[in-house]
C-alpha cells in the first residue's frame, strides 16, 4: 500500500483502505450512566460485525463494594438470562503493600449459570474510585456456535487496592445474542461511560 491511501491510515479524514484483519474499531453507541440500575444495549448488535467491543470508562458505583456485571439476551432485551460457563482470574495488590496475589476466583465464575457474570472485584464508591476496561464478544449473531467473550478490567477495590480481572467464557446458546445489559451487584451505576464498537476484521 502506498500514496495517499497509505498516508491516511488511521487518520480521521480522507479515504483509507479497509483493514484486512486489522481490527478497526467502528463506533456504534455510547451510554453515560447517571444513577442507573441497569444499562442495556438493545440495538446495534447484529451480523454487521463479527466482533463487538464494549469499553468501560470510570464506572462509579453508588454502593461501596459493588461488583460490575453483565448478561446476554437472545430476545432483544426482554430477558437477560443466557446460560454461560466462564472463568475469572484476578491480580490484587493493596496500597498498603500488605497483600498481593494472582488467583482463580471460584466465587465469580459460572458453570452453566444464567445469572449475571461478574467483571470486577468489589469496587469502591469514594469520589475518586472507579473501574475501567473492556468486554469483547465474538460473532453474537451466529446461530451455529456458542458466543465467546473476553473481558479485562482494572478496578479501584473498596479496600484501597488495585484489582485486575480477566474474565472469559461463552454464552452456551446457538440463538443469536442481540442485547447486553450491565449493572452493579448492588445499588446503581452512579456514573461512567460505556461505549459499543464493532470491529472490522
Amino acid at each position: 500500500m502506498s500514496g495517499i491511501i497509505a498516508q491516511n491510515l488511521l487518520d480521521g479524514s480522507g479515504l483509507v483502505k479497509a483493514p484486512e484483519g486489522g481490527g478497526a474499531w467502528n463506533f456504534i453507541s455510547k451510554q453515560t450512566a447517571s444513577s442507573d440500575s441497569t444499562i442495556s444495549f438493545t440495538s446495534g448488535i447484529d451480523s454487521t460485525y463479527r466482533e463487538y467491543l464494549f469499553t468501560f470508562n470510570n464506572i462509579h458505583p453508588a454502593t461501596d463494594g459493588a461488583e460490575f456485571k453483565f448478561n446476554l439476551s437472545v430476545d432483544t432485551g426482554s430477558n437477560y438470562n443466557v446460560t454461560k460457563t466462564t472463568t475469572h482470574i484476578y491480580a490484587f495488590h493493596t496500597e498498603a503493600d500488605d497483600a498481593a496475589s494472582l488467583s482463580y476466583d471460584t466465587s465469580r465464575d459460572l458453570a452453566q449459570g444464567t445469572g449475571f457474570q461478574n467483571l470486577t472485584g468489589d469496587t469502591g464508591n469514594n469520589n475518586d474510585q472507579s473501574l475501567s476496561g473492556s468486554l469483547q464478544i465474538f460473532n453474537p449473531s451466529s446461530t451455529t456456535f456458542v458466543k465467546n467473550f473476553l473481558a479485562n478490567t482494572n478496578s479501584y477495590y473498596s479496600s484501597d487496592s488495585s484489582y485486575n480481572s480477566y474474565v472469559s467464557g461463552y454464552g452456551n446458546t446457538t440463538s443469536a445474542v442481540d442485547a447486553i445489559q450491565f449493572k452493579m451487584s448492588t445499588g446503581n451505576i452512579d456514573a461512567g461511560d460505556i461505549c459499543l464498537y464493532g470491529l472490522t476484521t
Binding site: I5, N8, L9, L10, D11, G12, S13, G14, L15, V16, K17, A18, P19, E20, A24, W25, N26, F27, I28, K30, T48, Y49, T55, N57, N58, H60, A91, F92, H93, T94, E95, A96, D97, A100, S101, L102, N127, D128, Q129, S130, L131, S132, G133, N152, T153, N154, S155, Y156, D160, S161, S162, Y163, N164, Y166, D193, C195, Y197, G198, T200, T201
Partner: protein, 204 residues
C-alpha cells in the same frame, strides 16, 4: 456517503471513507522511532501530541529493542515536569523457556507498586540482535480531575533466559490531577531501537 465507498463500509477489502474526526476509530496521534534514547516521552501540547479530554482512551503500542538486557518501564506526569504520579498496581506473568526448563505462571511482587512514585515495570527485554518485546498499554481518561487514572498493559517479551514471557500489568495513578505526559525508559541502558505509537480512541 454513496456509491462504492459507502458499500464498502464494514468490509475487509476495498476503499472506505475514514470516519470524520476520528469517529470512534483509532486515531494515530504520534509515532516515535527510538534511536539510542534514554527516554521517550509523549507530552500534551508538545510535538503534535494530544493527551487531554479529546479522547477517553489512549493506547500506546510499542516494540522495543534495548541496548542492554533490561526492563521497559513507564511513568506518568500529573503536573509539573516530573514523571512521578503515585501508583498502585499489579504485575503477573506467564513464562516458558526455550529449553523447557521453565514453564509457569505467577504474581511478581518485585515489579508491582504500592502508592509509589517510581517507574512502572512493563516488560523484560533482552538485547540480542534479533530480540525485541512488543505490547500495548491502555490509559483511561487521563484528563479526569475526578477519578484515578486506570492503566492496563500486556507485553510479549523476549527474555534473556532465553524464552518467552507474557506480562500483565494493571493499576491506577492515584491522583485526581490530570495526567498530561507519559514517559518510557529502560531500567538500564537506552531504548536502542523500535517504535512507540500513540493512538486516541474516540467515543462519538
Amino acid at each position: 456517503m454513496t456509491g462504492i465507498i459507502s458499500d464498502n463500509v464494514g468490509r475487509p477489502s476495498g476503499l472506505i471513507k475514514a470516519a470524520s474526526g476520528g469517529g470512534g476509530v483509532w486515531t494515530k496521534i504520534k509515532e516515535i522511532t527510538a534511536s539510542s534514547d534514554s527516554t521517550i516521552s509523549f507530552v500534551d501540547g508538545t510535538s503534535d501530541v494530544v493527551l487531554d479530554s479529546t479522547y477517553p482512551i489512549y493506547v500506546f503500542k510499542f516494540n522495543i529493542h534495548p541496548s542492554a538486557d533490561a526492563r521497559l518501564q513507564v511513568n506518568f506526569r500529573d503536573g509539573g515536569s516530573s514523571y512521578d504520579a503515585t501508583k498502585t498496581s499489579t504485575f503477573w506473568e506467564a513464562s516458558h523457556a526455550e529449553d523447557e526448563g521453565r514453564a509457569e505462571v505467577g504474581y511478581v511482587t518485585d515489579y508491582d507498586l504500592a502508592q509509589s512514585t517510581s517507574v512502572q515495570a512493563l516488560a523484560y527485554v533482552s538485547n540480542g540482535n534479533e530480540e525485541v518485546s512488543a505490547g500495548t498499554l491502555h490509559l483511561f481518561s487521563p484528563s479526569s480531575t475526578t477519578f484515578v487514572k486506570h492503566y492496563i498493559c500486556r507485553v510479549s517479551c523476549h527474555h534473556s533466559m532465553p524464552g518467552s514471557i507474557d506480562t500483565f500489568i494493571a493499576g491506577y495513578c492515584n491522583v485526581t490531577a490530570a495526567i498530561d505526559g507519559v514517559q518510557f525508559s529502560m531500567s538500564s541502558g537506552n531504548i536502542d531501537a523500535g517504535t512507540i505509537k500513540m493512538y486516541g480512541i474516540g467515543d462519538s
